[in-house]
Symmetry: C2
Subunit: 256 residues, 2 copies
DNA sequence: ACAGAAAGTGTACGCTGTACAGAGTTAGTG
DNA sequence: CACTAACTCTGTACAGCGTACACTTTCTGT
């Protein structure tokens, strides 16, 4: 139960916290809290007031203990953030998903995006390790199971999953930072297309940027695409690529 | 010259700072500093000691002024960070790049990755706006110019650029956070493959994760791929997809 | 009964961004 | 040349932050 002085230098340590595989140790008084209470309270604060409001003092105060008590349950704030990320992931609801790999992957990507939009603070957490929590693995399993029914090999499957999840994280992060910066920049996500087009037209007249000028004046920026439109469009491009890879593997299998 | 009370609510404001399009205002004493000095010093500190060491007090102290003086040149620390990101981008050196679009894009991606590895702090800056600085535009121009020689239309070109740059940012961020977290997790990037494989094999025996278990025991994680290997592999996958899109547009052009 | 382990407390350090009020300096105007 | 408006720069203050360290208190197995 104690977050002792090994300080998480052992990769097993976080895994043990995550899967509750620790040997509690029987001597001495029982702790008055649990890891779930600590992380749960931290998540609640993040949901309500953003990640910036999550401080050790604040969590402790809400739980009715002093600040340093928390360090009996968690080795450091960074580890707490890791745990928040893992525990804030809900289990995927696949009840109305189609069966084909493409349908699954599309729903998977959209579901992940929605998860991040619901808890924007998750993207402010630096992810120091691959997904290891039970629910994170459940998400992985869903995607891998769908890909396993295709001609892809194990390496392909992991590669595809990395590309797709990297895209979802990156795209959603972009959307969220632009939106949260709009108080400062004065421009919302939808407005950026037009604003950017005008800026480029004004600034890229320079002979150094002929192609940029051409693109800017082509009117391609003249839209009010929502973030969701852009996301779906790029997702489809990636799924097309996966389809092409699957086709290639099918041909190889037929030939070999 | 003053960073007055409009406070950057105008998207034009940052652009003006970036391109030095401001009307200086002639009355009153000249400022003893310049925007370049402020941002330059901030970049120097970030290079030497990381983004966490970049504080308004520290910059001011190094420049021999008081903290609040900086706010005559920059509306807020967030804006300063935006400016650091833009100004830390060096102009691309394309002297030994090949001519074909694929070669250009590959060099473009690797060059961008290298830039981020050299200045890891750039990825800690939330990017609230699309690239607007002169050197950022130079990078865009190079990529767009290469794509302009293919059958892609303007929308395709922007889409491809977004996908590729999103991938580079995401992949490099992953690599850097894993590396910087390894003091805490005890695992380096190269070791994560094996460690993760072992963890999955231990944890995914559960009947909830059959595919995961299968993949984990397939030995696919049993490698010591460097981050660069993984990057190049995934980049090639994306470039294949771009090639497929180009082929489709060529066929459409031939048919229509 | 008591040793020893664990849980919980209180204090201290050296930081952070920026609001605000005021003092000092300069250039254009009459 | 004096003056005023514009502008730069300073000092203080506020309300926080993560966690090292030394400590008291509480409980369990022997």
């Amino acid at each position: 139960m104690a977050a002792d002085e090994t300080r998480g230098r052992d990769p097993q340590y976080l895994l043990d916290l995550l899967w509750r595989t620790q040997s509690p140790g029987t001597r001495g008084p029982r702790g008055s809290l649990s890891l779930d209470q600590v992380v749960g309270e931290a998540v609640r604060i993040a949901d309500e007031e953003g990640i910036a409001a999550v401080s050790m003092r604040r969590i402790a105060q809400k739980l009715g203990v002093t600040t340093m008590t928390l360090y009996r349950y968690v080795p450091s704030k960074d580890d707490l953030l890791d745990l928040m990320f893992s525990m804030a992931t809900s289990v995927p609801d696949t009840s109305d998903w189609p069966d084909d790999w493409r349908g699954v992957l599309r729903n998977w990507a959209r579901g992940t995006r929605q998860l991040l939009l619901d808890r924007p603070w998750m993207l402010d957490i630096p992810i120091g390790a691959p997904p290891m929590g039970p629910n994170n693995l459940a998400w992985m399993e869903v995607a891998l199971a769908a890909l396993d029914r295709t001609a892809l090999n194990e390496g392909d499957m992991i590669g595809v999953l990395l590309i797709i999840s990297g895209f979802v994280l990156g795209d959603t992060r972009q959307e969220l930072t632009m939106t949260s910066a709009s108080a400062r920049t004065g421009v919302s996500y939808e407005e950026w297309g037009r604003v950017y087009g005008r800026m480029m037209a004004r600034v890229a007249t320079d002979e150094r940027f002929p192609t940029l000028a051409k693109v800017a004046t082509s009117g391609i920026f003249d839209n009010e695409n929502t973030a969701e439109d852009d996301f779906n469009e790029n997702l489809d491009f990636l799924l097309d690529s996966v389809a092409a890879l699957i086709r290639r593997r099918e041909e190889e299998r037929a030939a070999g």
